[in-house]
């Protein structure tokens, strides 16, 4: 079954506002990555976390492996933040498979 459940599937924000994306995991994950897929289809690395919280500019991500979830917070959203955001998780069973969530389509409007 699906191991990574991502929500929301779509999100609309006005410039300057913020929100959070979330991924829940149905099995133990060793690490999580967050990507932004831009309008050209390129995947941009945002974060890689084995635990805890990382922050980069207006983005902050947390991975709680015990409670099996990860979040991506966006604050002060800008037009260029529009795109699709994916989480991807690495199974904790010595797995070689990195599984993606279904994505969150973010649209930032003026």
């Amino acid at each position: 079954g699906d191991q990574v459940e991502q929500s929301p599937s779509a999100l609309s924000l006005h410039e300057g506002t913020g929100s959070a994306l979330r991924c829940n995991f149905t099995t133990t994950m060793r690490a999580v990555q967050w990507f932004q897929q831009n309008s050209r289809g390129s995947l941009i690395n945002l974060f890689y976390l084995a635990s805890g919280t990382k922050e980069n500019g207006r983005l902050k991500s947390t991975f709680n492996s015990k409670e099996s979830y990860s979040t991506l917070h966006i604050r002060d959203a800008q037009l260029e933040d529009s795109g699709t955001y994916f989480c991807a998780a690495e199974a904790g069973t010595g797995g070689y498979k990195v599984v993606f969530g279904s994505g969150t389509r973010l649209l930032v409007s003026p």
């Binding site: 690490a31 990507f35 890689y48 991807a88 599984v99």
Partner: protein, 114 residues
């Protein structure tokens, strides 16, 4: 940052033909991956390759698919024969594979099967 190169960016072929998608992974990375994405949808795991072997593959990795990386050259995905449902963007990724499996992705190859 580290770059994964994919060649070509777009490939158009007739159904039933063979196609080879090429990936130049980050040098000194050990693990290589292929993912398939149909327009606007989820990134679907196809296969993971390490030390000359397929480590894990998904149900999407049909018998018509094969991967190899002969002597450290391109990491390739071959589809023979192609089917209409193979039309998608195929992304290659590589990871260090030592202390972590942080993925670095190429820009994708758009495959159109007519």
């Amino acid at each position: 940052g580290p770059k994964v190169l994919q060649i070509p960016s777009h490939q158009i072929i007739d159904m039933g033909q063979m196609v080879t998608l090429n990936c130049d992974p980050v040098s000194n990375h050990l693990y290589f991956y292929w993912y398939k994405q149909i327009l606007g949808q989820q990134m679907e795991f196809l296969v993971n390759f390490y030390n000359g072997k397929v480590m894990e593959k998904s149900k999407l990795f049909k018998d018509q698919f094969s991967v190899e990386r002969p002597d450290g050259s391109y990491f390739t995905l071959k589809i023979q024969p192609t089917a209409l449902e193979d039309s998608a963007v195929y992304f290659c990724a590589s990871s260090p594979g030592t202390t972590n499996e942080r993925l670095f992705f190429g820009h994708g190859t758009k495959l159109s099967v007519l």
